[in-house]
Symmetry: C2
């Protein structure tokens, strides 16, 4: 019914499983495209231009910043990272949905510039489960675990800034929720009003 | 995740197929209850108190009106019809969803009093199909058909007052849309925020 795609912005604390949900979404929905970020850091072995990142010089990135060509950006140490508007808009206009897995700061920047986006926050089912998942990675020191856990709890407080919250207690069920959110958003009157007017 | 049920308000012009969609929704979702209206007209043969209607005297209905005990009401000729708040609220509080198939005037009254409701408008796929469905009933005169068609077109202009529009070009697909809307609304942050706060 709607002609334009949806921009789906997914955030959540580490341990919520948002990476797996995004991967599964992309695998099972051919019309959902992953957003591709731009960065000024050099490509690592195996990284492909236009797939993993758009690799830009610092000058090119700053010029795009001046032209307001990013939906959001951040500077991490000496490198810029950002979401180029062009790639997103082109996909939406051609009817594809665009999926953006991003931290809360980035999501809030996007909300400012593109409030038609669908903002989804993925949560672990409980504090205990969150702790278990962080510890379960087995790659971090106790100090890192405590730090990561604290950061996750702080992030969870930001859920109120999002449109939807999906509790990932079961991957299949959480995925169903996200897919239902996309289907429902595709029926929002403000998104389909033009199409209805053209039909009647 | 959410504890409280959803009030689902479904409207649409005659010929959109909302009755069939509501029937199917109730059949396949045990947790969705049909709202029961109150009326001052007498019961017809086979109508059951508390199932088809709550049958009330005019005095009782007017007393409830004074107590603001209806989500919406209308007077049709000499009889009152209304949606008692109590039945709806009790079901929502116990975690059931409540489905209300109602005309636009009624839906707009409910939106005033109960804006947490989910307002869904069912549409036929096109003007041609609308006409075909109205004619297809075969029970009406040409004048009635024209009248009904004009009324339907006027109603369709009101879609902008609703949250969601579902085009009923295919019953199964339309039903999937409505079910997705309910699932998505159950993930709305404002509906689940309390639950999240209690988990973390």
């Amino acid at each position: 019914m709607r002609k334009k795609g949806l921009l789906i912005v997914i955030s959540g604390p580490s341990g919520a499983g948002k990476g797996t949900i995004c991967k599964r979404l992309l695998e099972s929905n051919a019309n959902i495209k992953a957003s591709v970020s731009a960065t000024t850091r050099g490509p690592r072995v195996g990284e492909v231009e236009g797939k993993n990142y758009f690799f830009l010089s610092k000058e090119a990135f700053e010029e795009m910043l001046e032209q307001d060509a990013f939906l959001e950006y951040a500077k991490v140490y000496d490198n810029y990272y950002g979401t180029p508007k062009k790639y997103v808009i082109e996909n939406l206009d051609s009817g594809n949905d665009v999926l953006l897995e991003i931290d809360i700061a980035g999501a809030l920047q996007i909300k400012e510039k593109f409030k038609e986006g669908v903002f989804v926050f993925i949560l672990p089912p409980s504090m205990e489960e969150l702790k278990k998942r962080i510890v379960g990675r087995g790659t971090e020191s106790e100090a890192d675990i405590i730090k990561r856990y604290g950061a996750a709890m702080e992030e969870i407080n930001q859920v109120i800034q999002y449109d939807y919250a999906v509790i990932n207690d079961n991957l299949d069920r959480a995925l169903e929720d996200v897919e239902a959110i996309l289907k429902a958003e595709g029926c929002r009157v403000n998104r389909v009003y033009q199409d209805i007017q053209s039909r009647f």
